[in-house]
């Protein structure tokens, strides 16, 4: 599986004249942007040292926000169509305000205030309206939207969703022969590949007819981003397979169940938003999230859960304590790691992961 390098791929796209918008986490109407021929490059955890961003942010702000600001302050040339700040949490919303009104960048800054709470008349009406408003905003910058292009973009998004669902299902049932590192590299490629390129990549993934031998221990991961490549590699070495996830960057952005092919784009996008899995960043119901985690654990036969929590991630930390408490009461092994999105694995975290693996192996052999 050859996945293009993120930075080189985006540079080459920008050089070819492609419009590229830098999009902050996590939920945004990607199809609407695609319909305007704007490519979305998601900004989650740009590598490098955080220096200048610290001058603008409090110490208790999460590393996703800090790293994003550090990236934005460098005014990278690949981002030529502006930045989009969805209202994922207060810190990202504030960052949007800071970048737009205080810091200032040489490209447009957009905000998108996702509704909080579950599906009801008010939230759906609101969501549809903000989609319409965002469309109007983009039309003032570019040109009137061609409805056919929006429908095509929705069809493309629908195909990607369907393929991702099939791959996730295959992962849970041992019909995919990718190790942890390769699997999450594939999942994260959606953050920067053109949708057609990504769909082609997904199409090349073999879903096996015969189930393969399951790993010695099976794990579900929860949190914002997939565990770092160092953690995934270590899990691979230990013989632990991550078979399901409840990650904002991955499965919480894929509908819970298949949708009909789109006919009316804005209705389709609205429906899609409200059938995404429960999520702390949308003030989702905790019971519903627990139920969703239960279902994933059963379907994947995962024996434990690894919470990979981004330091100071407020929405996630609200849910985390109660989730862990409830899961422990149900005798489900839980491990929590706190990450600052660093590119190394500390000795203590290695010991935590290894001890947790020993616990899972003991459970399997008992």
């Amino acid at each position: 599986m050859m996945i293009p390098n993120r930075s080189e791929y985006l540079k080459s796209l920008a050089q070819s004249g492609q419009k590229i918008m830098g999009v902050l986490p996590a939920l945004y109407p990607r199809e609407l942007l695609w319909a305007f021929d704007i490519h979305t490059a998601e900004i989650w955890d740009p590598p490098g040292e955080i220096l200048h961003a610290n001058a603008h942010l409090q110490t208790t702000i999460c590393p996703i926000v800090k790293r994003s600001l550090e990236f934005i302050l460098k005014e990278p040339e690949i981002i030529n169509a502006g930045y989009l700040f969805p209202h994922t949490c207060d810190s990202l919303q504030n960052l949007g305000t800071q970048v737009k009104d205080l810091i200032g960048v040489n490209v447009p800054v957009y905000t998108f205030y996702n509704p909080k709470g579950s599906f009801n008349n008010t939230t759906t009406k609101y969501y549809r309206e903000i989609l319409q408003n965002f469309q109007t905003t983009l039309e003032t910058v570019y040109e009137p939207l061609n409805p056919e292009k929006l429908l095509s973009a929705c069809v493309l998004g629908h195909k990607i969703d369907s393929r991702l669902m099939a791959i996730q299902q295959a992962r849970m049932t041992n019909h995919l022969s990718l190790d942890n590192s390769a699997y999450f590299e594939l999942m994260r490629a959606q953050e920067y590949l053109l949708p057609l390129d990504y769909l082609n990549l997904l199409g090349k993934i073999d879903i096996l007819e015969q189930a393969i031998e399951p790993a010695r221990a099976r794990l579900m991961v929860s949190g914002i981003l997939p565990p770092s490549p160092e953690v995934l590699k270590f899990l691979d070495e230990l013989g632990v397979s991550v078979v399901a996830d409840d990650l904002l960057a991955v499965s919480r952005r894929i509908p819970k169940f298949p949708m009909d092919a789109p006919l009316l784009p804005l209705d389709y996008l609205t429906d899609r938003f409200f059938i995404l899995p429960p999520c702390s960043t949308r003030a989702g119901d905790l019971e519903e999230r627990l139920h969703h985690i239960d279902k994933l654990m059963q379907a994947s036969q995962a024996q434990g859960i690894l919470f990979d929590i981004v330091k100071f991630c407020e929405p996630e930390l609200f849910d985390h304590r109660l989730l862990v408490k409830t899961l422990r009461e149900r005798n489900i092994p839980v491990l929590t790691l706190e990450t600052e999105l660093q590119a190394y694995l500390s000795g203590q975290d290695k010991t935590r992961i290894e001890a947790f693996t020993e616990l899972l192996f003991d459970m399997v052999s008992a």
Binding site: S346, Q348, T351, E354, E358
Partner: protein, 260 residues
């Protein structure tokens, strides 16, 4: 099986401990030496000393389990297991009714829940900071010009306790300097330091709860003042092993035997 011999090697941040047992779980020798800068060399030296004490040759040891932060550096080990599992197994071996193990190690502390077989059920570990660990006490002992024995002697167990931060070793050291400058009696400071560690441990215990008897392991279990405060805080008597520092190595030796 009794004629077979097994070893556990625990390469910790402060000390390297080796325990040799026979197949009947009888301890033949125990050695504790400082780890220094070379964990691999410390493991070799401690292992050789333990073999000498047990009057055994290297070839007579059929399995060696390495544990501790330096477990990967023990070239002669036949297996490796985390210190978390090893402390659970070791504590359960010494006190079979153990349901909870509190290990206060050199660079980290853990609370481990074990089942009736000594298998780990759950655990929690302190975060990156050294507060609540043996290192914390070592730093403070240096600052107070006391050795570790003096730090734990009953003479230093005072009813009065100076307020010390429980969140950071570096800040706590600054607080100790300020307290010394104010001529606060050393025993009050020592008491405050012990309380600070106990509070730190308590928060970890609270996060996973207590089951069964509680066994305290790690060198800090030799600190009488701290043990007394921890018992008060938990409202329970603690099992204190005769050699709390070697419980991890003992557990490692048991695991080597079980896996053989």
């Amino acid at each position: 099986m009794v004629d077979l011999y097994f070893a556990g090697v625990d390469v910790g941040s402060l000390s390297t401990d080796v325990v040799i047992i026979d197949g009947g779980s009888n301890v033949l020798s125990e050695v504790v030496i400082p780890t220094g800068v070379n964990g691999s060399e410390a493991a070799e030296n401690a292992f050789n000393s333990a073999l000498g004490l047990a009057k055994l040759t290297r070839e007579s040891i059929v399995a060696v389990t390495a544990t501790g932060y330096g477990r990967a550096s023990v070239a002669f080990a036949t297996g490796k297991t985390t210190e978390i599992s090893c402390h659970g197994v070791g504590a359960h071996h010494l006190f079979p009714k153990t349901g909870t193990v509190i290990d206060i190690g050199g660079q980290d502390s853990k609370v481990i829940q074990v089942d009736s077989q000594g298998r780990m059920l759950d655990f929690t570990m302190n975060d990156k900071c050294a507060a609540g660990t043996g290192r914390f006490l070592e730093v403070m002992a240096t600052r107070l010009e006391l050795d570790l024995d003096e730090l734990s002697s009953p003479l230093n167990i005072s009813g009065e306790s100076a307020p010390i931060s429980s969140t950071c070793t570096v800040f706590a050291e600054s607080e100790v300097i300020s307290l010394l400058a104010k001529h606060t009696p050393r025993e009050h400071i020592v008491h405050g330091l012990q309380r600070s560690i106990v509070n730190r441990i308590w928060s970890m215990v609270a996060s996973i709860g207590i089951e069964g008897e509680v066994t305290l392991t790690g060198g800090v279990a030799n600190n009488q003042g701290l043990v007394k405060l921890l018992e008060e805080k938990l409202g329970l008597p603690l099992n204190i092993p005769e050699n709390p520092q070697t419980v991890g190595a003992l557990g490692a030796a048991q695991i080597a035997c079980r896996k053989y």
